[in-house]
Amino acid sequence: MTEQALIDTFEAPPRRQRGWAKLRGVLLSDRKALFGLVILSLFTIAAIFGPWIAPYDPNAMSFDMMLSPSWSHPLGTDDLGRDLLSRIIVGTQVSMFVGVATVAIALVVGVTLGVLAGYFGGWLDHIIMRYIDLQWAFPNIIIAVYLVAVFGTGLLNLIIAISLAFFDDFARIARGMVLSIKEEQYIAAARTVGVSHLRIMWRHILPNAMAPIIVQATVSVSYAILAEASLSFLGLGVEATTPTWGLILAEARSFITRAWGLGIFPGIAIMLTVLSINFIGDALRDFLDVRETKESA
């Protein structure tokens, strides 16, 4: 070691902004992400405090059926005279929980299988990918219906069923990314250094494969909310007395010509959620991509 090295050792270089501070910087500098954050926070509050915020009991029926929006019922009433605003507020909890939890499970399971298949290849790849091909041959909703029929109804089983029906997309994307990344020289360099397979997958492959996976995750949230609606509509989801966005939307179909609000408002709620998650997902992608955050960090 030279003398200069010793001097440099004691020189304290300026540390880069990291972790939470950097994430906050990215979120605040991105207007769309900020919008998403605000909307999502509002929905989160509604999800937690829904029963207390709602102006009416979401299941209280009256003879004022299919009213247009008015001061007493801001979003109108449905075919059984229930207040639509209250039903949407109370429904936030189940819908958001299903949407987020489902995607989280599908992401973890799918990415794990996809990375293992792509990294190790060989018979493991064959087994995993042939199963996923099999699952691809069926529409997601059919698989979810089948799984609910096997597991039984209920919120937890619903989440498991939808996430299992969704994980194949994540596995496919992750595998594709891994196949291209593992040919990079830094993977060969990591192996030469003696890095374990697990650490190569976790530290070298996964961070570089995240961008398309995040996009897929944000898109999947909306599908998950709608899948919950379909299953609930078929009587395979939550109980009919539990209002969820999807259920409200599904029930509205029969009356859409007489009460336009019944379809529009739950639809807007789903749309806003998905849009917010998309915006936050984009910001998250920027945050994870070291090249693009250079200016905002």
Partner: protein, 353 residues
């Protein structure tokens, strides 16, 4: 050459890659003979060059030596032991002694890791420095040895130039204090001025840390400058091995001659006058190599016997082996090169200045 001097030894190493076809059920329809019976040894402390055109199997040899691929047959011995027989712990110990500097400074560093993480990773994985502060200090020392400022620990690879990135790659290779470094085209992707800096750095490190290099390259002037012994490869086989000066001045294999003749001379007058004995045709497919001597379809000396028998490496002098029966000590200047052309084309050469 005594046995203790040899650090790395290849014995008849072959690496065939199967070529598969089929969607559901693969079947092997052929083999790419990337490396086909290569033997040589590298002595402790020397820089051994491996040259040849792209696709001749030189990088595959590098990967085999790094234990990134397993040879199809043959033995690779490191410090007297067959590396194929290593268990997990021995492999890890082997990795501490054998490191690599890769070709592409843009793809050999993980774009999402800082320099600190990249250079510190070997120290972490081998539990040499458990604490982050200790690692950071070692990383700064390594960077400084490689001519990088200590503040670059926080940089990401994309914030650095090609030469700086290659220095980071060298620092990572040095982190474990290895004995042997495979430089796989380590300077090919860099600008010429940067190449010179990196070559000088590699030479300094060699004397400072007592390193042994396998220097894989296709730039003959760089190879001549840095290497003590050089092997010329063609289509997975060794054409000629010799002391660097002997090879570049008296290399007698027709392929070596052609390679040397293809190096441009930085003097337009000489360049214009000298005979351009261009090599004919394209490099054949390693999936279906020619019979006999693999070079015979392009060789100016080839006759019927070259089509039939595979030439063995034979002694052509002290520190000089050549795999061609047509040339050798008896006939060191091939007939197809006139004395005049030879005098202009071969001696001196570039990189000699």
């Amino acid at each position: 050459m005594s046995a203790e001097d040899v650090l790395v030894e290849l014995r008849d190493v072959r690496k065939y890659f199967p070529v598969k076809r089929g969607i559901v059920f693969d079947r092997v329809i052929g083999q790419v003979r990337a490396v086909d019976g290569v033997s040589f040894s590298i002595r402790r402390g020397e820089t051994f060059g491996l040259v040849g055109e792209s696709g001749c199997g030189k990088s595959t040899i590098g990967r085999l030596l790094l234990k990134l691929d397993e040879p199809t047959s043959g033995q690779i011995r490191f410090a007297g032991r067959d590396i194929a027989g290593f268990d997990a712990a021995e492999t890890l110990a082997f990795r501490r002694r054998v490191q690599a500097v890769f070709q592409d400074p843009y793809s050999s560093l993980n774009p999402r890791m800082t320099v600190e993480e990249i250079v510190g990773e070997p120290l972490l994985v081998h539990s040499i420095e458990a604490s982050r502060a200790g690692r950071l200090q070692r990383v700064r020392q390594l960077l400084s040895v490689c001519g990088l400022p200590a503040r670059s620990v926080d940089s990401y690879p994309h914030e650095m130039s090609g030469g700086q990135r290659q220095r980071v790659g060298i620092a990572r290779a040095l982190a474990l204090r290895p004995d042997f470094i495979v430089c796989d085209e380590a300077v090919s992707a860099l600008d010429v001025s940067i190449q010179a800096q990196i070559v000088r750095l590699l030479q300094e490190l060699r004397s400072e840390f007592g390193l042994t290099y396998l220097f894989i390259g296709h730039d003959l002037s760089v190879v001549r400058h840095i290497c003590r012994r050089v092997a010329v490869m063609y289509l997975g086989r060794i054409a000629e091995i010799a002391d660097s000066d002997i090879l570049f001045d008296e290399g007698c294999h027709p392929y070596t001659q052609a390679l040397l003749a293809s190096v441009p001379v930085p003097d337009p007058e000489i360049e214009h006058r000298r005979a351009h004995q261009m090599i004919r045709g394209e490099i054949p497919s390693p999936m279906n190599p020619p019979s006999g001597c693999v070079f015979h379809p392009r060789c100016p000396l080839a006759d019927e016997s070259c089509r039939r028998s595979v030439p063995e490496l034979r002694k052509a002098g002290e520190e000089h082996d050549v795999a061609c029966p047509k040339v050798g000590p008896a006939d060191i200047s091939p007939a197809w090169l006139t004395d005049k052309a030879k005098a202009d084309a071969v001696p001196g050469g570039p990189g000699r200045s």
